[in-house]
């Protein structure tokens, strides 16, 4: 199948290789999709300045003159064993404009790239990519036959400060100022101190008017209503998307999460756990 062939035409968009005039639109798509990393402003470095960059290995999907999706492949040499090295591609950023998701654009981009002249010319044997397991299961495996690699990489993480929690509090305070959560927070007041192993102490003063966050020894309350003691691994476990409350109970029962405070305050804390969830959201740990 050639680029821009029947598969995508039947769906009212076409796929073709990147053109210089597409660059700004592609950068915008990337920026909107990956704001969490360097504010999404890495396209020039990652692709344009990359010694391996081949623009013909970037496919864009176009509808009515607008770029609605893009898929980037980068040529690599991959060592399969100490004695065997093959030509490969790294399946890098793939983005589809949210308005056009669920319409097969991602699949069309992937298939178009596979059959492109650039791939025929370079003849890579393998494609690899880094992905979230859910996205892989729902998109990459059914579309491209990807399997997880039994890799031996481990990641070590340490919290230096609670800047991300403060940013979450700022966003939450904006919503509170705009009148959101008014009834839920009416008359509410609580001082919570988190003592997390190997991380700075973290304090929340939660009230009807908003949330104040402080960290480190200086800014924390000695008169906290509740003190929560735990470690980062337990906290990370608790803030996974699924089974948060189950994880909370399990961690409490096994002593990995300890609470200190009056019963009435603890109940109040539990009833308003959503605030803590919001403060720790957006991949704090």
């Amino acid at each position: 199948m050639a680029e821009g062939s029947g598969l995508s035409e039947a769906r009212e968009y076409s796929c073709r290789s990147l053109d210089k005039r597409d660059e700004e639109e592609v950068k915008r798509l990337i920026k909107n999709a990956f704001r969490e990393f360097l504010d999404g402003e890495y396209w020039d470095w990652k692709y344009k300045q990359n010694p391996d960059f081949d623009p013909s290995l970037v496919m864009v999907a176009e509808k009515d003159g607008q770029v609605i999706g893009c898929n980037h492949w980068l040529l690599k040499d991959l060592r399969l064993s100490p004695t065997l090295e093959v030509k490969a591609v790294l399946g890098a950023d793939i983005v589809v404009n949210p308005e056009f998701r669920g319409k097969g654009v991602g699949k069309a981009l992937l298939v178009s790239l596979r059959y492109s002249e650039a791939v025929k010319r370079n003849n890579p044997v393998i494609i690899y990519m880094f992905a979230d397991a859910n996205l892989a299961q729902n998109f990459y495996t059914p579309t491209g036959g990807y399997v997880p690699l039994p890799d031996r990489t481990v990641s070590y993480v340490k919290i230096l400060n609670w800047g991300k929690v403060k940013e979450n509090a700022r966003l939450l305070n904006e919503e509170i100022s705009a009148g959101k959560f008014k009834s839920r927070l009416a008359g509410f007041e609580l001082k919570v101190l988190f003592k997390i192993d190997n991380a700075p102490a973290l304090c929340f003063y939660i009230a009807e008017e908003g949330i104040q966050v402080s960290e480190g020894d200086d800014g924390c309350f000695e008169d906290a209503d509740i003190v929560v003691c735990s470690d980062l691994a337990t906290l990370r476990q608790m803030y996974r998307k699924r089974g948060r409350k189950t994880n909370l109970f399990r961690a409490t029962l096994t002593g990995k999460l300890k609470f200190r405070g009056k019963i009435s305050k603890l109940l109040s804390f539990y009833r308003n756990l959503w605030i803590i969830e919001q403060l720790f959201s957006r991949r704090v740990i």
């Binding site: 579309t143 399997v147 031996r152 991300k164 190997n198």
Partner: protein, 268 residues
């Protein structure tokens, strides 16, 4: 008794270190599967020119006596430690704490909210130092692999094991694949005999039939599924059944036994 003199020291990156660092990476990860380091220029782009990396976050460990580069760390202001590597012939227990200490201090000063280091699971020096510094281990982003040219891949793997295959087997295997992506041929033939190894999608007279699905076959080749386990869970069918054990042995031979490692600098 006199004070023990440290064998290594750490300094910030200097122009000209690129070639030594590229060599170091190739040496440190020679036993691992993963991306091959191509050239010092490529490393320069990958680390030095990375948007969140400044020279003051790039440290090089060296042998005080000989001056050789024996390790390096690349810390980005985002909190990602893009590379942390040391010469396996030198003392990682001494080099790694020095490099991690520099990275942590730099990132604290740079205002990063967290530090993220990736390393091979079995690297004890990095693990021990990270634990001493209060890091927790996290599952990293998973790497997924697929095949663009199965005939070529099977041919490369078979030729890599050519000696063993030729000595042990005399079979032509027909592999029939279900649910393969459109660019993958649904049948391939592997001819193994004392004259050599051949993999093709052109019809050959065959002595064994293997029927399976594409994902299972890839999992077998990439090493995350053992042939005996696949057999016991009925993931593939072999005819004639008298050839089952031969086929399991062929697949075991072809299967990659690679230890994989992907530095974080490959990811961002």
């Amino acid at each position: 008794m006199g004070k023990k003199v440290a064998k290594y020291d750490v300094r910030t990156f200097q122009d000209g270190d690129e070639a030594k660092i590229a060599q170091l990476l190739n040496k440190a990860y020679a036993d691992y599967g993963g991306p091959a380091m191509k050239s010092p220029e490529y490393w320069r782009w990958r680390c030095l020119e990375r948007p969140d990396v400044e020279r003051s976050g790039l440290f090089v460990a060296f042998d005080r006596l000989k001056g050789d580069v024996v390790g390096h760390v690349v810390a980005g202001r985002s909190g990602n430690v893009w590379e942390l590597c040391y010469d396996p012939e030198h003392d990682g227990e001494e080099i790694v704490p020095m490099l991690i200490d520099k990275a942590v201090r730099y990132l604290e000063k740079a205002g990063a909210t967290s530090i993220n280091i990736t390393a091979p699971e079995e690297d004890k020096a990095i693990r021990r130092t990270c634990m001493d510094y209060g890091f927790i281990s996290n599952p990293p982003s998973k790497v997924f692999l697929s095949v663009l040219d199965l005939v070529e891949l099977a041919s490369l793997l078979a030729n890599d094991k050519r000696g063993e295959l030729m000595a042990r087997f005399d079979e032509t295997v027909l592999v029939k694949l279900e649910d393969a992506p459109s660019w993958i041929s649904s049948t391939i033939f592997m001819k193994i005999g004392k004259n050599g190894v051949q993999v093709t999608d052109k019809l050959l007279p065959h002595s064994v039939n293997l029927e399976t699905d594409f994902l299972t076959f890839c999992s077998l080749l990439f090493g995350n599924l053992s042939p005996s386990k696949a057999l016991s869970s009925a993931k593939f069918r072999v005819t004639p059944s008298s050839k089952v054990s031969t086929l399991v042995e062929i697949l075991s031979c072809l299967r990659m036994k690679t230890k994989w490692f992907f530095p974080l600098s490959e990811f961002g």
